[in-house]
Symmetry: C2
Subunit: 343 residues, 2 copies
DNA sequence: TTGAAAGCGGTACCAA
DNA sequence: TTGGTACCGCTTTCAA
């Protein structure tokens, strides 16, 4: 137990007050600028602050003010470009609006609920992404009075919700694939893994049915990473009746599918077409047809709404569904007009 | 000013105490488990806690305990896979060790110093990455008693420092390129942009000189993104005496260089070779020769050390330089033995 | 085993 | 314009 903790203890407002020969109330006023302080007094205070290198304790301040001036974002994971971009968009706006940003990755960790509730004790509000906590926890938070904005997940109660349009994005994709003339579609990805994938699979299935086709087989369930995608795609591609298209839940899965095809000596898109979701940087170099979603904007919108909720204006519940963009590259088939790819 | 802030005010320890018919001291003890509390009393307290859904205020707790139980990481940006991976590695370990994690991206924002000092008021310690704040701020923080771990930047004073071995990584790369027989090397990237790039350029220059070559020209300065890399590479490739190799400061720059070459109708590696740094996911699909660095491990090590500093054991200063790995792909030239690429 | 009370470091109201 | 002081919500001595 030989803790040799020799940190200088922080300067407090009392020492500044003593040094300047005023009361702590005056120091507080001089620094906040709220009330008027006589110029000479202010000078003395600021000099003392300067000299003692006084930085007010955030804890004292927050306790007195009754707010943290911080908010948080909870997401499954930060690996892979998708979440990183969303978090970046979030941080950017939150910082702009004067809040500190706490992050919490739940994926693969025990007790996500406990961690989220712990986070809730240090913030004025939080953004919850995807499949991080059960609905009950969302309700519990809002009942406790903590504003919550949901991101990339279904609405719960009266919380604001921001989502991407999985429905239309998928339909546009399937429609494009249908024009290529493909008949046998397979979906790679686990709807249970994330609400987004669930939405994409549902739309995939629905649009095939509406086109008068047979219902697709069960999705080839797999996690979000490349190697899981590869394994799942191998299963599909080894079937007697090989699918003509692998519609993948996200880009990393699709990149794994490309690997699988290569491994089996199948050409893409000749023997099998492959599509993804997200349009991560690698997708471009892999020639992957995919659906781009506005990742930063998802985070930015959530941050802005959260701040407004915290400010406490009584806006009605807001739900936003951001649009996607089909990005056609080579992996879905050959095209006459070179490059539908947007700049 | 019509703020309709109707949040239920949080349950405090006093209400729990009243409900359980004990003092707040007893409630605190019953919850912390530190001191002994008679079983029946504890039962009553826990029942009250349950019934009132009491969650202790983090602010009160931290103020009394004299610690935040949180720490922070400051980085230039979160876009691009590099920082995201480092932050992920950091968050993972920090959370494991029981700290909440605050993030702060400085890049392109005004007043990075003010923001960092503001962050310093809410954490027990922090990790500072790359070119985020000037050395004086680092000193100022440590003098104030806030433990700091530096990441991907030169040491300052007595702070722990974690870096990647830019020196050896670059030498291995240049050596490999020299074996290809290339004579005219150009460096793409701005040493002023980050300490890492500075280190890479220095090693690049040194190893060429040591090999008895003429000193290379000035680096083609550019920012870290693909399009900046593209523009810089265009400048180089349009020179009368075209370089045979573009050694780029990071992968995104290199991907831009690949674009530039394609634009000019130059084949890679036939007409010009290109290399990167980081081994981001896209590098693989672009066939980019690069140097892999252990990004997560950088973050993880920093988090662990920071925690130890905060715990206050008086270890001597630590400096770690993590090793890199050359990843040879097609962009640097043709190879006999297919794929030196590690799995 | 429990309670009273003194902090922890601020903010803001009320008087002077 | 300033000072005194009552909080904010918790932890932790010190006594009982």
């Amino acid at each position: 137990m030989a803790v040799i903790n020799n940190r200088p203890k922080p300067v407090t407002i009392h020492e500044v007050a003593a040094q300047a020969g005023v009361s702590i109330a005056t120091v507080s006023r001089a620094l906040s600028g709220s009330t008027t302080v006589a110029s000479p007094t202010r000078e003395r205070v600021l000099a003392a602050v300067e000299q003692l290198r006084f930085r007010p304790s955030r804890l004292g301040q927050s306790l007195a003010e009754g707010r943290h001036a911080a908010n948080g974002i909870v997401f499954p994971d930060l690996s892979g470009p998708y979440y990183a971009e969303v978090v970046l968009g979030y941080e950017e706006v939150a910082a702009e609006l004067g809040s500190s940003v706490l992050i919490l990755a739940t994926h693969g960790r025990p007790e996500p609920t406990r961690r989220v509730l712990e986070l809730a004790r240090r913030v004025d509000g939080m953004v919850l992404m995807g499949r991080t906590v059960p609905d009950e926890v969302v309700s519990q938070l809002t009942e406790t009075g903590i504003p919550v904005v949901l991101l990339a997940r279904p609405a719960v109660g009266e919380s604001d919700t921001v989502n991407v349009d999985n429905e239309h994005g998928t339909r546009a994709l399937v429609k494009h694939l249908a024009r290529h003339g493909y008949q046998r579609f397979a979906f790679v990805g686990d709807p249970a893994e994330s609400p987004d994938v669930a939405g994409r699979y549902a739309a995939f299935r629905a649009s095939l049915l509406e086109a008068g086709r047979r219902p697709p087989r069960e999705p080839l369930r797999c996690a979000f990473d490349v190697s899981s995608g590869r394994r799942a795609a191998l299963r599909a591609l080894r079937r007697a009746l090989r699918p003509e298209v692998l519609v993948c839940g996200n880009d990393e899965t699709a990149l794994g599918a490309l690997e699988a095809a290569a491994e089996l000596g199948l050409s893409v898109p000749g023997d099998v077409a492959v599509t993804g979701w997200d349009d991560v940087m690698a997708a471009r170099y892999a020639g992957l047809t995919t659906v781009r979603q506005p990742m930063r904007q998802l985070g930015a919108t959530a941050a802005r709404w959260l701040q407004e909720r915290i400010a406490g204006h009584g806006e009605p519940v807001r739900r936003r569904v951001l649009q996607t963009q089909l990005v056609v590259r080579s992996s879905c088939g050959t095209h006459d007009h070179e490059s539908e790819e947007p700049r």
